[in-house]
């Protein structure tokens, strides 16, 4: 059994419990143990206010994981990006490193630099691998056509991710989708931004950005959008309802977190995958899968 510290971040455990639940269930079934530690915010939201404060927050999390002898798994791409970038800058920026280590020491913590952080989907791709995932599929999702959304920080800035996937036209999530038998529709502009970082600054602007991907999904006539970040998920799922209400337009495009899609293929129940918490209803999508448990509470 592989063990990782589960870095949940702030948003997933409060606003995307369907993502968290499906991740935990899928991980358990694949023999990946996720250990909960008292982590805090990754530091990313604080970077715009004060970079040094963000660095301290990031490195406290690393110190905690290292003290437990574990690498970290994340589910939020913004957390992944911040933790990865900051741990790199920690090594490069000697002045800030010394300042941060001094601050950690006052809290009884230290960090030697041994902990690695990766997104859950990346661990599925790199450590479990598509062949082993294919072997875990019991329900073929061949009836579904989906459009992937990588989100920005899953692959960018590329130099922080050491050659994992292409920062402009990534493909690893499409490969993970195909594991389930579902079709991953090919479209240009794989790098659009969901707009979520601007939700609290200018909501209309943020929702206008989100709508671009919804229009793409509608044009491609897909059964669902597949995402790997709670911010993208909230933008497209809950945000979709707001866009529909505000602009009197109808999209009705279910938004699935990748573990929800994979979990269906692995035979996990709709309840275990948290479908009752999806804002855009998924019954139509589930109805296309003969033999898959249909009892979704809404």
């Amino acid at each position: 059994m592989t063990r990782y510290a589960f870095f949940l971040g702030c948003t997933t455990p409060v606003r995307a419990m369907n993502y968290e639940l499906s991740t935990r269930r899928v991980a358990a079934k694949l023999g990946i143990e996720l250990v909960d530690l008292p982590f805090t915010c990754c530091g990313y939201p604080i970077e715009s206010i004060n970079r040094d404060a963000a660095m301290l927050m990031t490195m406290r999390n690393f110190a905690l994981a290292e003290a437990n002898g574990l690498d970290m798994i994340t589910v939020c791409s913004a957390c992944t990006g911040a933790l990865t970038r900051f741990s790199g800058e920690f090594k490069e920026d000697e002045a800030l490193r010394n300042k941060t280590l001094g601050q950690l020491k006052l809290a009884g913590l230290e960090y030697k630099g041994s902990t690695r952080v990766r997104h859950f989907a990346r661990v599925l791709y790199e450590e479990v691998g598509v062949e082993k995932l294919k072997a875990a599929v019991v329900q073929n999702l061949g009836a579904l056509r989906v459009l992937t959304h990588y989100g920005c920080h899953y692959v960018r800035p590329s130099e922080s991710y050491g050659g994992f996937d292409d920062p402009e036209t990534p493909s690893t999530l499409d490969e993970l989708v195909r594991v389930t038998g579902a079709e991953s529709v090919t479209m240009p502009n794989k790098n659009v931004c969901c707009g979520a970082p601007l939700l609290s600054v200018d909501k209309n602007l943020a929702l206008s950005m989100a709508e671009i991907k919804l229009q793409m999904a509608q044009a491609a006539n897909v059964d669902a959008l597949v995402v790997v970040c709670p911010f993208c998920g909230i933008s497209y799922d809950r945000g979709q309802l707001e866009i529909e209400a505000e602009l009197q337009r109808k999209y009705g495009i279910p938004v699935l977190y990748y573990p929800q899609l994979l979990g269906m293929a692995m035979g996990l129940s709709p309840r275990d995958l948290g479908f009752m918490m999806n804002s855009v209803k998924v019954q139509g999508l589930l109805g296309k899968l003969s033999g898959y448990a249909a009892g979704v509470k809404t």
Binding site: C41, S48, I49, Q103
Partner: protein, 165 residues
């Protein structure tokens, strides 16, 4: 800033440019030759003309400190890193943006949404409070309670400085 806005010599702050260059993340901006790849790549600019990364770099270069730091546009970057990937001069625009936002905060021009955020983070270590309602919902779903170590966090939270250091 619209194209028609002229620059008044009295607005030019000669030390601003040097201050930006001296900060980690600000070192590369003088390499910009105004090609506009950033602006052409920008998903925010595609929708909202208030925001233009190329013009922002030029304004910093011209030393228009107050206009830059007081600008609403400073808070409109979504940090998607597309300009970062494409810039032929490796200006590292998102890092420059962080430098400018940090300087704006130090000068007292924090965006209200970020001001709210910093106080809850300092206190709780999170951007959303995990209250009894959330924990009850989590319990119903079979999710563990969100683990926290308030005492440990206190030793870090009290060291965080969000304004001028």
């Amino acid at each position: 800033m619209s194209k028609r806005d002229s620059v008044n010599a009295s607005e030019i702050n000669e030390t601003f440019c040097r201050q930006v260059l001296a900060k980690p993340g600000g070192e590369r901006f003088r390499a910009c030759f105004q090609c506009g790849t950033c602006t052409a790549s920008c998903p925010v600019r595609a929708i909202d003309s208030r925001y233009n990364p190329r013009v922002l770099v030029k304004m910093v270069e011209l030393g228009l400190r107050d206009r830059v730091l007081k600008s609403d546009a400073l808070w409109l970057c979504s940090m998607c890193y597309l300009c970062h990937e494409r810039c032929p001069e490796e200006v590292r625009f998102p890092e420059l943006m962080t430098v400018l936002r940090n300087m704006a905060v130090d000068a007292g021009y924090i965006h209200p949404s970020y001001a709210k955020l910093s106080s809850i983070v300092a206190e709780q270590g999170r951007i959303y409070e995990v209250d009894d309602f959330i924990n009850m919902r989590r319990k119903q779903l079979g999710l563990p309670l969100v683990s926290s170590d308030r005492e440990q966090w206190g030793k870090i939270g009290t060291q965080l400085r969000f304004g001028k250091q």
